[in-house]
Amino acid sequence: MFIQLLFYGFVFPGLIFQILCAWVFEWLDRKLIARFQRRVGPRWFQPLADWIKLISKENILPKGSNELVLTILPILSFGAVLTAGMYVPVAGFNFFSFEGDLIVILFLLSIPTLAYYLAGIASIGIYSFLGGSRSILQFFSYEVPLLLALSGPAILAGSWSIQNIITSQLSKGPFIIFQPLGFILAVVGLIGKLKRDPLDIPKAKSEVVAGALTEYTGIRLAFWHLAMNVQAVLGIFLLINLYLSWSPMDIPLLSTLAFIIKFLGLVVMLSVISSVFSRLRIDQLADIGWRILVPLALLQLLVVIFMGF
């Protein structure tokens, strides 16, 4: 039993699996974007090489910054996303399901954003401060439509457990058919959560250098990057589970294959989106978030509620 728990925690679906997925995601993303830009792109081991390079670098913090807080924050966010990863079902494998785990996961996945904000405040750099305050502004713009959109599948399935939502989809069909709008809103929210192009306002290079992570170096930065990438992978897993969880036959191998294909499809989608749109301004994002995304999410929710009857 203890060995089994260790296996869950450290191998699958825990630490090693999630880190591997994160690196695969990072490589795929970088390679795809490079190819869209007519570049060759990195080789397959580049994310690992970058990570090793980062942890071997000197670990500097500027004088006067709060070392303890700045060290805890990346570990905290990495831990939060790893914990969330334990509850997200992967290709039908699910070990710790309970009623309401969707809410717990969403809560855990918003910890990195708050940690990012705190990192901005705790660093003494001016760019860090701007990046941190921008990240919290952005948080208010995307989080509400994201939560509203993600509650759609839960209401349709009549349960806040991801496992129940998946089983409900197996009989009803994938929820993307019933709520395409909700899926789009969830993707937009996910992009905002991951601070990817075109919603990379908190870390816009030409404005605030690297946002809240400007003063970070070495192993702390390496853990931030890892946390961000694991978060991206979990977000994609969540979208697959909530909207696309359906396969024609109930064969484990086939469903695993289908899961991988869906994962790749979503990665391609995120890469395409990040390479065709330019970054929005923070006021434009707030405008779009509250005037367009939230009403659309409410509309979708209404449709879902009427469908439930």
């Binding site: 007519r38 970054r279 929005l280």
Partner: protein, 360 residues
């Protein structure tokens, strides 16, 4: 809300060259800014006085890393004017061809940088790929990508042979297709327009007051182009249009520059069609007779002014260089107010700064 001053530069991802901007912000609003130059001041004007006229040609080429050809063209023209010689027509056409190619690559570079700063790396990479085709032509012709070393006093260093003309024409035709695609991408991509339209508009009056030149002035409706208004040969024999726009904001600057690329491509084809046969250089004496001359030319960023005084020896007594970026910089603090922090890249990239030019 608290007023904060954010330093942009001398080292910042926004700037490719060192420039110090101190920008006052309140929340996300920019209230004002000051700037400071001199981080790449190389003292070229002083240096030029201690070198002979021939040594100065490669030196002048290094005033700017992008518009190097137009600087040497202007300098050589000034020296030739003092020497009282006129270079052969073929050499003039080759100089003009290089200048126009340079204008295309400079504007493409600018477009890429703007797109990169607003977070659209795809168009950045695509424009720079197209720019690379222009640089390939220039390297094939002259031997250098940006330091062409094409001009010498009394003519040009290389001649176009029979393969070069068709090669340039075929690449230009290919480029024309690419630029068409690029134009559609830039003009119809909704987010570029959303980011640049209405940002930091300059009125005609501002342009006149601050003596601004080049695409920035033309985007505000000031119809000035030194290729047409005060032409160095052979521009007086070439037929081209001057692109202007009235809005004066960053979006108008984008349109003006994209259309100027197309004008320049047509000019290249025209030059290759009209180019006369003949020699490419005349003998120039090493000693330049005493005299003073002022030469103006249109660089990709606007008017360059060269004042040259010779005292009869083989090195200039005074060489004054006024580059277009200096005027663009003088109006930058005015533009950096009443905008958002996110607009700073658009404004700073939009005026097309070349700090090395401005510092000299």
């Amino acid at each position: 809300m608290e007023k904060i001053t954010i330093p942009i530069g001398p080292q910042h991802p926004l700037l490719k060259e060192p420039l110090s901007l101190l920008i006052d912000i309140m929340g996300e609003k920019v209230t004002g800014g000051t700037l400071r130059l001199g981080y790449v001041h190389r003292g070229i004007e002083k240096l030029a006085q201690s070198r002979n006229y021939i040594q100065n040609v490669p030196l002048i080429e290094r005033v700017c890393g992008i518009c190097s050809q137009v600087h040497t063209t202007t300098y050589c023209y000034a020296v030739e004017k003092l020497l009282g010689i006129e270079i052969p027509a073929r050499a003039q056409y080759i100089r003009a061809l290089m200048c126009e190619l340079e204008r295309i690559h400079s504007h493409l570079l600018w477009l890429g940088i703007l797109c990169k700063h607003i977070g659209l790396d795809t168009i950045f990479m695509h424009t720079w790929h197209d720019r690379e085709m222009v640089l390939d032509i220039m390297e094939e012709l002259s031997g250098g990508r940006v330091a062409h070393a094409a001009n010498k006093i009394g003519g040009v260093r290389f001649d176009l042979d029979e393969d070069h003309g068709p090669m340039v024409i075929s690449i230009i035709n290919k480029l024309q297709g690419q630029i068409g695609k690029l134009r559609d991408m830039v003009m119809h991509e909704p987010t570029i327009k959303a980011r640049t339209e209405g940002v930091a508009p300059l009125s005609q009056d501002d342009i006149r007051k601050f003596c601004v030149v080049g695409p920035v002035a033309r985007a505000s409706g000031v119809d000035v182009d030194f290729r047409r208004d005060d032409p160095l040969p052979p521009y007086d024999q070439l037929d081209f249009s001057v692109v202007t726009h009235t809005a004066g904001d960053a979006w108008a600057r984008t349109i003006v520059r994209v259309e100027e690329i197309e004008v320049s491509m047509k000019l290249c084809a025209q030059i290759l069609q009209d180019i006369p046969d003949g020699p490419i250089e005349v003998r120039a004496s090493r000693r330049v007779p005493a005299g003073q001359v002022v030469v103006r030319a249109e660089a990709p960023r606007g008017e360059v002014v060269y004042y040259l005084r010779s005292d009869g020896s083989d090195s200039p007594a005074r060489l004054k260089i006024r580059t277009p970026s200096l005027t663009a910089l003088s109006i930058l603090p005015k533009q950096l107010s009443e905008i958002q922090v996110a607009d700073i890249p658009v404004v700073v990239a939009g005026v097309d700064l070349c700090i090395a030019c401005a510092d000299r």
